[in-house]
Symmetry: C2
Subunit: 410 residues, 2 copies
Amino acid sequence: MAKINANYDRLTAGYLFPEVARRAQAFVQAHPGVKLLRLGIGDTTEPLAPAVIQGLRERVERLAKVEMYTGYGDYEGELALREAICRAYAERGIRLGTDEIFVSDGAKSDSGNIQSLFSSESVVAVEDPAYPVYVDSNVIAGRCGSFDSARQGYRGLVYMPCTEQNGFFPVLPAARVDLAYLCSPNNPTGAVATRANIRRFVDWALEHRAVIIFDAAYASYIRDPELPRSVYEVPGSERCAIEINSFAKSAGFTGVRLGWSVVPNALAVEDGEPGKLNQMWRRRQSTFFNGASNIAQQGGIAALSEQGHAECQRIIDYYMDNAAIIRSALLGLGLTCYGGSNAPYVWLKTPAGMKSWDFFDKLLAETHVVTTPGSGFGPSGEGFVRLSAFGHRADIEEAAESIRTNLRLG
Amino acid sequence: MAKINANYDRLTAGYLFPEVARRAQAFVQAHPGVKLLRLGIGDTTEPLAPAVIQGLRERVERLAKVEMYTGYGDYEGELALREAICRAYAERGIRLGTDEIFVSDGAKSDSGNIQSLFSSESVVAVEDPAYPVYVDSNVIAGRCGSFDSARQGYRGLVYMPCTEQNGFFPVLPAARVDLAYLCSPNNPTGAVATRANIRRFVDWALEHRAVIIFDAAYASYIRDPELPRSVYEVPGSERCAIEINSFAKSAGFTGVRLGWSVVPNALAVEDGEPGKLNQMWRRRQSTFFNGASNIAQQGGIAALSEQGHAECQRIIDYYMDNAAIIRSALLGLGLTCYGGSNAPYVWLKTPAGMKSWDFFDKLLAETHVVTTPGSGFGPSGEGFVRLSAFGHRADIEEAAESIRTNLRLG
């Protein structure tokens, strides 16, 4: 008699984004003809860079020719791509070997799967608020208890509040934590960890032999040269941190799918000597995965070329100009918001202490702007909504104008 | 103090194919100038069909245009692709809804991940021999004990021998089994389950409320019109079976990456009403995965078009002609072999009761032909090697000729 993995039943209703989509759709059905202004999902909207398109084209044509066709690639990704990724790290003074890079179909997959390397008894800490995958993957794997409605959190999971008071970077866990997920630039708050912030967590991890899972998927949005774009800019992190990254937001690959993780050879844990976790991830990926699409990988190589990088950077600048437009509209109304300066997300404090979903509904009803309720990212996200800067300029301007004109404030 | 998932340490050394690659490379290094004749990994070698190339091209061009660019797609795959998959099933009299189809980056991912839906206490049965992913994913998830060297199998895992005596289809499990993995056409034996074979397992599963995971990744290689290409050709299976399939071998997408799974709405288990597992897989995929590459999906749509299907079928015929060449060479030497008639794999019985790895080494040394040792697929694979029919015609002929000429038989 087969039985289900009952951990799935612990998950709270609906993944956040499907629920946002459901409410938006319901609103449109109730108000036919209304044009929604979507600042909800952080989805890229601008076409791929010309150099990237050229890379994709060339790979497709190779697949059409008997002498150039290739089938299965290396589980860990094509060497040329891993070399290009290493070169990009080297430009920031970080030396990584190609055997420390694991190409995947995206940061979401790696963020969800990485927990498989660790004991089911591990105590997990997440930033609060955080991207839901860190939490949900650990719930499914059985590392969390049931959902506590009063606390709006899972029992057994350590929430590290990111609040206005601490500048949206958590204080060190007081009790035992084995795995800590950090995301910088942060989704959803748009906050970026400083070197000192990371230094503190690395020292803590080394002292307690904990592991940091560092999600740097938005690193290319950092404009302040003083802010670190990789956890490995902080020495010692190679002994305690895994980094996850992606082409989704740096090159517009949300649909093309490509990412990578770094599992350093120096990384060690209590019962795993240096190299052990690197080998385990290699085994995990070669067992559960057959490599990212070869076409996407060629696109990734092109995105990391000199021309591709410059072209992708212009698209990033475009989205960051969008962020400035959104911030300006909100600040002009006297609202309080964060992020949006080194990240494509603006973290808006709801006025008059409104609940996130209530303000989501209010924005939808009054301005037709779709956002993402902060509470969907964790209990400390309550009282905030996330606005995404991804969108065509005209749509962003229309949304900003609609907020400016139609939002009824107290 | 982080600790590792110690289940990884239960895995026996190296995934099978890396070990094959290692020995082949070592042989070449020891014998410079030798040309290896590779019949080892089942990797496609012929270029993609023209219609598929056209589909890929068109999608790349869409990504270059602001009015046609798209980012994140549906987690479960593009509707047009799921509709095309449903139409392909309908042609064989199988009615499936698009909400029962889940597109993925390949059958390997789904084969590895599907176990996550079930209780960690589940008793798992695999065909012996079997594709290693079924076993390894369950070892990592903690459903198996340590490896028993004497039995050449994991404690707690139920091995269902597929032997010459039973026509390479297993008898029903005698003891409790909750999840049974079946693969037809089988990798590695090349055997295809008959309707009666499947009927027997479906009746067993319905009686015991067990679940069948049916891997049909090689279904397009079936030429005998009497043999079922899907588990759902057997009524009742929709209440007890999940089917996994792929474009890897039907359209040459080993590197492009695309597959799908069917989790029927009617599927139910002891503690999961009909629809429950369908919803759980939806949740699993939307949590751990962000959809297959949109470019690959367009290629899949093209492969299922009338023209694409016809073109892909010609490539399949080409590989099946290869299989006939390999079979003919082996049979001509008086060797015993199976498969290769409705599957791209020939399952060769080693002469004089040689061990699989010994015969692998002998074939490599004497004929320079790389195969895959049967014992790598499970204890009942001992005494066999797998020969893959994937390859350019000239290479297949050269390998066949080398075996005919150079293999020294006692």
